[in-house]
């Protein structure tokens, strides 16, 4: 299945008595009711590794685009109304700023590796602290309490998976803890953020800006306030959108399905 379609519920499973394997694109499995699938004897596989690099790259792309005002700049450069480029049109440097990574899994760690080359100071919040060698390789400092990360970061990047524990992890309280000059970057899942609280925070300049590859729902309804805010960049869930990665995902999914149908151990099975 690609991108949460079709929705897997009791009805669907009952209508497909011979269903043996579901291969779900990407690494996220928050859209799957694993207990339900298991009760029907259906096995599940995903693509946990191949999406990591492209998603981390997009996280960096969003952070840079937001901070250096890339989308705005491009619009100005190609606009028929632009007569000259104003000399005082400025952005803010990413280099030397503090990045707080919430969720230091595979994707979060790759973001840290990239951010280090920009001489960013890296803080992270995670269920568990990473090994010392992993921390020092990227110069990352563990924040056991998310509050510490939120208060110190110029950029807060969300790279957690969506679970009942991370649902609305970033709400009004967390946004108010962030600096008024800070930017929120979300490459995880829309529901990790309390979206209404985010809109309010952006409108009232509680935080400076947001760059989101994920929202809830996707796509947003046409009249949603997030689409109108000047200090928001939204991309259409393209974290893993490179030709190479999408082809590998397809090959992996086919491989998992074939193994499942043959009764063999399933590569990338979600247990």
């Amino acid at each position: 299945m690609w991108y949460h379609q079709p929705a897997i519920n009791e009805e669907l499973l009952q209508s497909l008595p011979n269903l043996k394997v579901v291969a779900s694109s990407g690494v996220g499995i928050d859209h799957l009711d694993l207990k339900l699938l298991s009760s029907y004897g259906v096995k599940v596989a995903n693509n946990p590794f191949v999406v990591t690099t492209d998603t981390a790259d997009l996280g960096m792309a969003l952070m840079l685009a937001s901070s250096r005002r890339l989308v705005e700049g491009h619009e100005m450069a190609v606009s028929p109304d632009t007569e000259y480029f104003p000399a005082d049109w400025l952005g803010v440097e990413v280099s030397g700023a503090t990045l707080g990574i919430v969720g230091m899994g595979a994707i979060g760690y790759k973001v840290a590796e990239r951010a280090k080359a920009f001489e960013m100071k890296i803080l992270y919040h995670n269920r568990n602290q990473r090994k010392k060698e992993e921390e020092s390789a990227v110069g990352a400092v563990y924040c056991k309490k998310i509050d510490d990360l939120l208060q110190q970061s110029d950029f807060v990047l969300l790279a957690v998976n969506l679970t009942p524990q991370t649902h609305k992890l970033i709400g009004k309280r967390e946004l108010e803890l962030m600096k008024p000059t800070a930017t929120l970057i979300n490459i995880s899942r829309g529901l990790v953020v309390d979206q209404d609280a985010l809109v309010e925070a952006l409108q009232n300049k509680v935080i400076k800006a947001a760059a989101l590859d994920v929202t809830y729902p996707e796509p947003l309804p046409r009249d949603h306030p997030l689409l109108k805010l000047k200090n928001v960049i939204i991309t259409p869930h393209i974290g893993s959108a490179t030709k190479k990665t999408r082809w590998i995902m397809m090959e992996e999914m086919a491989e998992s399905i074939e193994a499942g149908l043959a009764g063999l151990p399933i590569p990338r099975e979600v247990l």
Binding site: D54, D57, A65, L70, L90, V92, R222, I238, T242, K243
Partner: protein, 257 residues
Amino acid sequence: GPGLKVISTLSVGFDHLALDEIKKRGIRVGYTPDVLTDATAELSVALLLSACRRLPEAAEQVKSGGWTTWKPLWMCGYGLSDSTVGIIGLGRIGQAVARRLKPFGVRKFLYTGSGPKPESAAEFGAEFVPLTRLAEESDFVVVTCALTPATQGMCNKDFFGRMKKTSVFVNTSRGAVVNQEDLYNALSSGQIAAAGLDVTTPEPLPTDHPLLSLKNCVILPHIGSATYATRSTMAVLAANNLLAGLRGEPMPHELKL
């Protein structure tokens, strides 16, 4: 006029100065190298990522409602993982760009210029190659050289003709290094995949310029060094260069003529 003693430019580029005339008249020149390296390198990488991951195009689809349902190959771009990056001009900015790109999983760095720079290249294991080979083998080409008679119009039909169909071209040097008509043809015919330009000729481009109509060309309004911190530092430096020149003292950064 005859009373002109000092020129202080708010840039590291000096292609806009008629150096022969200036030297003849005994005028001193101050400029702002180094202090803008990081900001410009950062913008070059930001531009490269925006072009290869189609950021402005994708953001526009979200706003316009073009994003309806999700399809596996929709809005797909090109990744940096396992790629070959070719840098034209491995100077301060070029090196800073390479440093930032390295952790994105770049497999190989190539560079070209007036001559090899082994000390600069060592950090990235970069190989010095002729311009033609750089075009042929690179997945990403980043132009960070100075504009000189030798580099003027260097990126032309022949250059783009050698590049891969899947490659991305980024220019943050000077517009005149690129033959814009040839670039337009390369982009519109699919000879190269995408381009990112922070600099053009002229700036801004005329409103009916064909490059402005291309979805796979990200154009920025020459913002390489445009950050509050960097421009402040540049401004102070430029002022100090000027004052030192007027006083007949050594400048913090004087251009040797």
